[in-house]
C-alpha cells in the first residue's frame, strides 16, 4: 500500500479530475492508517479467523493441525443440552435486565428532570456504579447476598443462600445486572430529555394536553432515537456479559446462571475446544444480530 504509488505519465482531461479526488482519498487513508493497521491485525483479522475456527475441530493446544469439519460443530451445538440451557438463561437474563433497567431508568430520568430536592444526590450516585469496576460490583453484591454476613438476609429475616439457590440465583444476578446498568441508561435518557425543545411542551399545554398526553405524544416520540439506541446497546452488552456473573456465581449453582459467554469461556479455556467455542460465539452473534435487526427494522417502520 505504501510503495506502489508511482504512476506512469500524468493523466489528462477527466482523469485529471479523478486524480484530484484521489489526493483527498489518499489523505484520508493516511489519517486512517494508524488505526487501521491494529484494527486489521488484532480485531478484524482475529474475528475472521474466529469465524473460520468455528468450522474446524481446533483445540487450543494443537491449532496448527486442525481440520475443516464443516457444520459439525453447529450440529453438535443443536443437540447440546448444556448449550440450550445456557442459551435460555442468556435470553431470560438479557431481556429482563434490558427491559427492567430501561423502565426503571425512564421513570427515574423523568423524576430527575423535574428538579426535585435530592435529585442532585441521586445524579451523583448514578455515576458511581458506572465508574465501578464490574469485578468490584460483583464482589460487593456477594457481600450483600452473603448467607451469614450479608445484609439482605438480615433485612428480610430470611436464611437463604441467594447465589447458591437453584431458583433464586438467576433473579439475584438479574438484580445486580439492573443495578450495574441502570445508572448509565438513566444518564443517557436524561440527556435525551433535556434535548427536547421546551416549546413543544408549552404548545401542548396550550392545546390542553395533560401530563400523560404530553408524555405519550411529545416525550416518547421525541425520545425515540435515544431509546432505540440505548436499549439496543444495553441488550448487546447484557447478552455478552461475562465478568460480573463470573465473579458472582461462576455460572453456578449447577449451571443455573451460566450465561452463553461463560459457557463459551469454559469450552474454550477449560476444555480447550477452540473450534466448538467459536461456533458458539458465532451462533450467538447471529442470534443477536437477527434480534437487533428485527427490533431496529420495526422501530424504523413505526417511526415513519
Amino acid at each position: 500500500m505504501t510503495a506502489t504509488v508511482t504512476r506512469p505519465a500524468p493523466p489528462r482531461g477527466p482523469r485529471a479530475r479523478r486524480r484530484g479526488i484521489s489526493r483527498q482519498t489518499r489523505e484520508m487513508w493516511v489519517l486512517m492508517l494508524p488505526a487501521l493497521v491494529p484494527v486489521l491485525l488484532f480485531s478484524v483479522g482475529p474475528l475472521l479467523y474466529g469465524i473460520g475456527l468455528a468450522f474446524t475441530d481446533a483445540r487450543n493446544t494443537r491449532v496448527h493441525q486442525t481440520e475443516f469439519v464443516g457444520l459439525e460443530n453447529f450440529s453438535r451445538l443443536l443437540t447440546d443440552d448444556e448449550f440450550w440451557s445456557s442459551f435460555q438463561i442468556g435470553a431470560i437474563w438479557a431481556v429482563s435486565v434490558t427491559v427492567l433497567q430501561f423502565l426503571a431508568a425512564l421513570g427515574l430520568a423523568l423524576l430527575l428532570n423535574e428538579k426535585l430536592r435530592f435529585s442532585g444526590l441521586a445524579r451523583v450516585l448514578s455515576v458511581v456504579p458506572w465508574a465501578m469496576p464490574p469485578v468490584v460490583i460483583g464482589l460487593m453484591w456477594k457481600l450483600v447476598y452473603h448467607p451469614d454476613a450479608g445484609v439482605l438476609n438480615d433485612l428480610l429475616g430470611t436464611d437463604v443462600n441467594w447465589l447458591a439457590d437453584f431458583s433464586l440465583a438467576l433473579p439475584a444476578i438479574i438484580v445486580v445486572g439492573i443495578w450495574a446498568g441502570m445508572p448509565q441508561t438513566t444518564v443517557v435518557l436524561l440527556a435525551g430529555l433535556q434535548n427536547i425543545p421546551k416549546e413543544l411542551y408549552e404548545a401542548g399545554e396550550m392545546d390542553g394536553a395533560g401530563t400523560w398526553r404530553r408524555f405519550w405524544n411529545i416525550t416518547l416520540p421525541q425520545l425515540r432515537p435515544v431509546i432505540v439506541a440505548i436499549t439496543s446497546l444495553d441488550f448487546v452488552w447484557n447478552i455478552n456479559q461475562f465478568g460480573l456473573v463470573y465473579v458472582l456465581t461462576q455460572g453456578g449453582p449447577g449451571g443455573r446462571t451460566r450465561l452463553p459467554m461463560l459457557f463459551a469461556y469454559e469450552e474454550a479455556f477449560r476444555y480447550r475446544m477452540a473450534g466448538y467455542a467459536s461456533m458458539l460465539g458465532l451462533a450467538m452473534a447471529i442470534v443477536v444480530l437477527a434480534v437487533l435487526g428485527l427490533y431496529l427494522w420495526r422501530q424504523m417502520r413505526e417511526a415513519k
Binding site: 489523505e27 484520508m28 489519517l31 486512517m32 494508524p34 488505526a35 491494529p38 484494527v39 488484532f42 482475529p46 474475528l47 479467523y49 474466529g50 469465524i51 475456527l53 427515574l108 423524576l111 426535585l116 435530592f118 441521586a122 450516585l125 455515576v127 458511581v128 456504579p129 465508574a131 469496576p133 464490574p134 469485578v135 468490584v136 464482589l139 460487593m140 453484591w141 456477594k142 457481600l143 450483600v144 451469614d148 454476613a149 445484609v151 443495578w179 444518564v187 443517557v188 435515544v226 446497546l233 448487546v236 455478552n240 461475562f242 465478568g243 463470573y246 452463553p260 463459551a264 469461556y265 474454550a268 479455556f269 467455542a277 467459536s278 460465539g281 450467538m284 452473534a285 444480530l289 437487533l292
Partner: protein
C-alpha cells in the same frame, strides 16, 4: 400527592443505589470478631482500618495497582493517538471507508468476545506475549478503539468546518489549521476520551483473565477476585477494603469527566 409519590420513588432509587455501597463500606470497617457474629451489624461497633492494611498483606495489591496503572496508561494514550487522525477523517471526509468505519464500530460492539479472544490468544502466544503486560495493552487498545473513535468523531463534528475553511482562506496549510484551530477546540474531548479509555482498561477483567494467568503479572481486577479464594471462602473484611480502594481512581476520573462523557455519548449515539 403527586410530589409525594415522586419523592417515594426517588428515595427508593437512592436506597437501592446506595445500600450495597454502604454495606461494602460497613464491611470494610468491621473487625474479624464482629464479622463472625451470626447477626450482622449494620454499623460497625468498633470501626477499624485494619482491613485496609490486611488487604495489602494478603494479596499483592501494590504490584497489581502499578501494573493496572501502566497497562491503562499505555493503552489509553496509544488508543487516543491512533484514533485521533482516523476520527478526524471519519468526521470530515464523506466516503465509503467512512461508512465502513462506522459499520465496524457498531459490529465490534455486537460480536461476542469469544470469537476474537481465541484467535487473539493464539496470535499473542505465537508472539510470546501471553502473560505479559504488552500483550494486554495490545488487546486493550483494540477493544477501546471503537468507542474512542466514536466519541472523538463526535467531538470533531462539533468543531465547525467553517473555522478550518476560514483558516485556509487566511493562507494556513491544512496541518497548520488543524494544529492552531481544531486542536484547541478538540482538547476537552480528547481528555474525556483519554480518561474513558483509561478507566475501561483499568476496570477490564475478561481479556485480562484470559491473557494473564500468572499471579505475578495480574492486574487489579484479577487480584481482587483472588480474595474470594479457590473455594469461594473469603476473608470478607480485606476483600471489601480492597474493593473500595480499587474503585477510587475510577470515581475520581468519572467525577471529572461526567458531563463531557454524557455530551460525547450523545454526540456519537444520536447525531451519528
Amino acid at each position: 400527592m403527586r410530589r409525594a409519590s415522586q419523592y417515594v420513588a426517588l428515595v427508593a432509587y437512592v436506597v437501592f443505589l446506595a445500600f450495597p455501597l454502604l454495606w461494602l463500606l460497613s464491611t470494610a470497617l468491621k473487625t474479624p470478631q464482629e464479622m463472625a457474629l451470626t447477626e450482622p451489624t449494620w454499623i460497625p461497633r468498633e470501626p477499624t482500618l485494619a482491613n485496609f492494611g490486611d488487604a495489602f498483606g494478603e494479596q499483592d495489591l501494590v504490584g497489581a495497582s502499578l501494573r493496572s496503572l501502566v497497562v491503562a496508561l499505555f493503552a489509553s494514550v496509544i488508543t487516543v493517538l491512533i484514533s485521533l487522525p482516523a476520527a478526524y477523517a471519519m468526521a470530515r471526509y464523506r466516503s465509503l471507508i467512512n461508512k465502513i468505519a462506522i459499520g465496524w464500530v457498531l459490529v465490534s460492539q455486537v460480536f461476542p468476545f469469544i470469537l476474537i479472544i481465541i484467535p487473539l490468544f493464539m496470535i499473542l502466544r505465537d508472539l510470546d506475549l501471553i502473560n505479559t503486560l504488552p500483550g494486554l495493552v495490545v488487546v486493550h487498545v483494540t477493544f477501546t478503539l471503537p468507542f474512542a473513535l466514536w466519541m472523538l468523531q463526535g467531538y470533531v463534528r462539533a468543531v465547525p468546518r467553517e473555522l478550518e475553511e476560514a483558516a485556509a482562506v487566511d493562507g494556513a496549510s491544512r496541518l497548520r489549521s488543524i494544529a492552531s484551530v481544531v486542536a484547541p477546540l478538540l482538547a476537552p474531548g480528547v481528555v474525556a476520551t483519554l480518561l474513558f479509555s483509561f478507566i475501561s482498561s483499568w476496570n477490564e477483567f475478561m481479556f485480562a483473565l484470559v491473557i494473564l494467568q500468572d499471579p505475578d503479572v495480574m492486574t487489579l481486577p484479577l487480584t481482587l477476585v483472588r480474595f474470594t479464594g479457590p473455594e469461594g471462602v473469603a476473608r470478607l473484611g480485606p476483600l471489601a477494603a480492597a474493593s473500595l480502594m480499587a474503585t477510587i481512581p475510577s470515581l475520581i476520573f468519572f467525577a471529572i469527566i461526567q458531563r463531557r462523557l454524557k455530551s460525547g455519548l450523545m454526540a456519537g449515539a444520536v447525531k451519528g
